[in-house]
Amino acid sequence: MTNQQIAEDLLVKYGENVNSFEEPWGLLTFTTNRQNIISLLEYLKKHETFRFNFLTDLTGIHLPDNEGAEFGVIYHLHSLENNVRVRIKVFLSQDDLHIPTAIPVHASANWMERETYDFFGIIFDSHPKLIRILNIEEMDYFPMRKEYPLEDATRQDKVDALFGR
């Protein structure tokens, strides 16, 4: 089973909805949209030869310069039996940060989605409990977005006037 086969199979099944196929460092990467992501995950999981039954990772990314698709959700799938990984990306626009949840397909997506929500504010529709997971509940911004600072404003022992910063 090669990346080529997977890509061809997906193109037959999903056509235009999967695009931008790449192979950085041998890892098949492609983009889809949020209407198809859940059925795609399910298809890959149930497929009798591919069997991408393991959701390795789910995370977000913020690309502020990428007009109309500022946010990305990135899924890493692993087919344990064939030992092949794929990476699926879904890009979302800043104004409409909604994407369906992947919990029905992979239970492990639960916390990873909550983490992504916590960091980027991406809303996973029909997630059973989409609240902040790592940060305090009272937080009013999404810290991993590029516009927010890293530092704690309360640090006192740092003197920026001195050389080296």
């Binding site: 940060n135 810290p143 530092e151 704690d152 640090r155 006192q156």
Partner: protein, 181 residues
């Protein structure tokens, strides 16, 4: 015992012919210093080093501190080890409030003392922003030797402190500055 072990010195007092008196406070101070039960508030890496200092090689029990009391009521010494995030800060304060006097606090490691490398939005920049700290132990994580150094520093404090530490004005002022009571 082959190793040279320093015994506690007799407390300073008035020595005369057949007459030895010492202030009661000193005796209690020494007793306290030899029986500091820690509450290991271990959150991360430094907690593992605390385990090492409980282990056979460093053996914190030599100082009479091997009984970790996880109930704050029974502990004398709050050892905050590891990063304290802002989410955790109220809990640290609550644990401190639940402790019975006399109580001491060690901030073990860079994170607890000052935030360390985690100068971030989520990490408290040193626990002395929420509770008064008596001893800071540098290192990330500190070696068990350094943790023991910190403990010995607390022992020194305990010996020299007045019996009713709570009632002194400075201590009250200190607590007030942290909005305790």
């Amino acid at each position: 015992m082959s190793n040279p072990v320093k015994l506690i010195d007799a407390p300073e007092g008035f020595e005369g012919s057949g007459f030895f008196a010492t202030s009661f406070e000193n005796v209690i101070g020494i007793a306290r210093s030899k029986s500091l039960w820690p509450l290991p508030f271990a959150t991360s890496c430094c907690g593992i080093e605390f385990m090492a200092s409980m282990g056979s090689h460093y053996d914190i029990s030599r100082f009479g501190s091997e009984r970790p009391s996880f109930s704050p009521r029974q502990a004398d010494l709050l050892m905050v080890m590891g990063t304290i995030a802002k989410k955790m800060a109220p809990i640290v304060k609550q644990v401190y409030l639940q402790m019975a006097e006399p109580r001491w606090v060690i901030a073990v490691g860079a994170c607890a003392s000052s935030g360390g490398i985690f100068d971030t939005y989520s990490v408290l920049q040193g626990i002395d922003r929420v509770i008064p700290v008596d001893v800071y132990v540098p290192g990330c994580p500190p070696r068990p030797e350094q943790i023991l150094d910190g403990l010995m520093e607390i022992q020194k404090l305990a010996v020299n402190e007045s019996l009713r530490r709570r009632n002194t004005d400075e201590y009250q002022a200190l607590l007030e500055s942290y909005n305790i009571q």
